[in-house]
Amino acid sequence: MSAPIAPLNAKKNPNAGVFDGIGLWLLSPSWIVIGVFLLLPVFMMLIFSFLTKEFRGGVIWEPTLAAYDQFLFDRGLFGDEPPTIEWTYITIFARSIWQAALATLFCLIIGFPTAYYIATRSARSRSVWLFLITIPYWVNLLIRTVSMKFLIRDTGPLNQFLMSTGVIDSPIHIVNTNFAVQLGLFYSYLPFMVLPIYAAVERYNFALSEAAWDLYADRWTTLRKILIPVVKPGIIAGCILVFVPSLGAFLAPDLLGGAKTFMIGSLIEEQFKGNAGNWPFGAAASMILLSMVLIVLMFYARQQTRAQAGAR
């Protein structure tokens, strides 16, 4: 080629030119929004987690690792014993991950068929279904969670119905159990699973299923080998959208669960609420939560790029 050799990165990004010069300026509103509302608060939390706590909330500007130390190690009541691992918070974290994973699984099991069903309806009934799915979300989450509690408590309509029909003799205790928390999380985040999967299935070309069927695959194999792999990005998006807020949720565990179902969200919430709080500790717990979420997302991103590289 006689033309001058283009810079290396010009080849990577065909739109590169758009982003230099004026393009960067046009993007500045988004940068400001991201900076002020996203990066700044996280940065503040990071700083706070390394400061000294002030009783009755707030921080003293003295750098210390005390918050992280408190999270990980037990140094006795007066802080003078040799450190042992502090299991309380680790247990809460493990439980939260478990609860969030379980909620994600349930949302997936119910959400996938729901999304598939909606996506395969006629255009008109599709919008009706989507509307019905999103209706409850016009009501505040707190109110919905409280209503859920009224529904499932010992004297609530569910138990009354079951007793009046003679299925049970005495009320089933649902409130304050893991099951109740699961129910709350499931109910809160189901649409976050349904909507991305719906979007993926709606774009799915059903001729692919026909082609698989034509090539001697039964319906189950077609689902497993063709439909699910093709709509996988929607499934993963749904799982992330359910898992991440479930992990930090505090309304459902607070209102529907009890001491045994305490989750990270509630732990963090407590540190910033009222006078009993410990801001650096709350900030440290938030940072640990955030890093765990980021690790999960990075694994996902890594796998995506690898899958794409494999396609090359």
Binding site: N205, E210, W213, D214, Y216, A217, T221, P229, K232, A311
Partner: protein
């Protein structure tokens, strides 16, 4: 067609009705076709005539409302698509986007229970056959339209189906590629000895590839025959008009001479027409005359021809030919096609009088 071997496919009195009564659509009405083993059989017809419906019924994607489908003598209309030894090449290819080209082609074989090694071996051979051996590790999206088309073909052929169905497989390709693929498809079909049922609305495509063609219109079969039969002996006006170009003249039967009818055209000029029979004197009908079987001569120069005359109205240059519009003395307009090598049409000027000669046997009388 040999009589001893069973027919590859027999569709008998197939009816297809979509939907329930108030807005039911009758897509096929009493369609029967017989396809011989190793035949390249084409379903040809305008958009919406039911070609895809018939094909999807044979594949097993649509149920048959009435009638039966037999594959090598066996009734298959109650078998689901995945139990029929029939494969389809889809119009938009429908390649699995998450699989490599090789995995796509091996899919059917794996589903039939072949080991991975065997499946990949056959798939590789199929890809070599369609000249895509070096692309086996690519994803379908990294191929051109023509290459995707070949993958779709290889994928459908890999399980060695008894019957291959192709729904307008070439319609998404550009002209050059389409022409090349016609030859290639025909070659592959002859090489593998698999019966092909090919759907198209392109009559040229049908004529160049098919052993036999079924012309359909409005859910009904119009005519089945070789390309030559359909072109030269169309059974009705629809077929004559749909396949190639033709001049259609309304007429009345004056007398009958054996299989031929003498009809009146122009200003009371008698014209001998071939006909399928079943006509009587006084019937009205339509005469079809292909434009390339008409020649123009200077008036009075040729006494042997008919004394049909007209005025040259317009010339349209078409590359290899010139099309000439002539207005007969009774006002009907006919098209005449002249090969440019002859340059006889260019002997005429617009507005000049010409005597019109119709080749022996070129006029066909169609009843309807």
């Amino acid at each position: 067609m040999t009589d001893s071997s069973p027919l590859a496919l027999e569709v008998s009195h197939a009816v297809k009705i979509y939907g329930a009564l108030p807005n039911a659509v009758k897509a096929l009405n009493d369609v029967s076709i017989d396809v011989a083993n190793n035949e390249f059989f084409t379903l040809l017809g305008p958009s919406g005539c039911g070609k895809t419906t018939l094909l999807r019924m044979i594949a097993g994607f649509e149920t048959i409302t009435e009638g039966s489908i037999r594959l090598f003598g066996e009734n298959i209309e109650n078998l689901p698509a995945n139990k029929r030894p029939v494969n389809t090449v889809f119009q938009q290819y429908a390649l699995f986007p998450h699989m490599t080209v090789l995995q796509n082609v091996a899919f059917g074989l794996t589903m039939l229970g072949k080991s991975d090694r065997e499946a990949n071996g056959i798939a590789t051979r199929m890809l070599d056959m369609v000249q895509l051996g070096e692309f086996s590790n690519r994803k379908p999206t990294q191929l051109s339209g023509g290459q995707q088309q070949r993958v779709a073909l290889a994928r459908a052929l890999a399980p060695s189906p008894k019957l291959l169905l192709l729904d307008e497989p070439l319609s998404a390709l550009d002209l050059k590629l389409r022409h090349a693929m016609r030859v290639e498809l025909k070659q592959i079909q002859e090489e593998l000895g698999i019966t092909f049922i090919f759907v198209t609305h392109d009559q040229e495509e049908a004529l160049t590839m098919s052993d036999r063609i079924a012309v359909m219109s409005n859910g009904e079969l119009q005519q089945i025959g070789t390309g030559r039969e359909i072109y030269e002996e169309p059974k009705n006006k629809f077929v004559a008009d749909f396949i190639g170009e033709t001049n259609l003249l309304t007429t009345q039967v004056e007398s009958i001479q054996g299989a031929n009818a003498v009809c009146v055209v122009g200003n009371h000029t008698p014209l001998e027409c071939a006909s399928a029979g079943g006509i009587s004197i006084g019937d009205t009908g339509i005469i079809s005359i292909r434009p390339e079987r008409i020649t123009l001569t200077k008036p009075g120069s040729d006494a042997t021809g008919s004394n049909l005359t007209g005025t040259v109205k317009r010339f349209i240059y078409l590359g290899t030919d010139t099309q000439c519009m002539v207005e007969l003395d009774d006002g009907t307009e006919i098209h005449v096609r002249v090969q440019n090598a002859h340059d006889s049409a260019t002997d005429f000027d617009v507005g000049e009088r010409a005597s019109i000669k119709i080749d022996q046997g070129a006029a066909r009388l169609l009843v309807n």
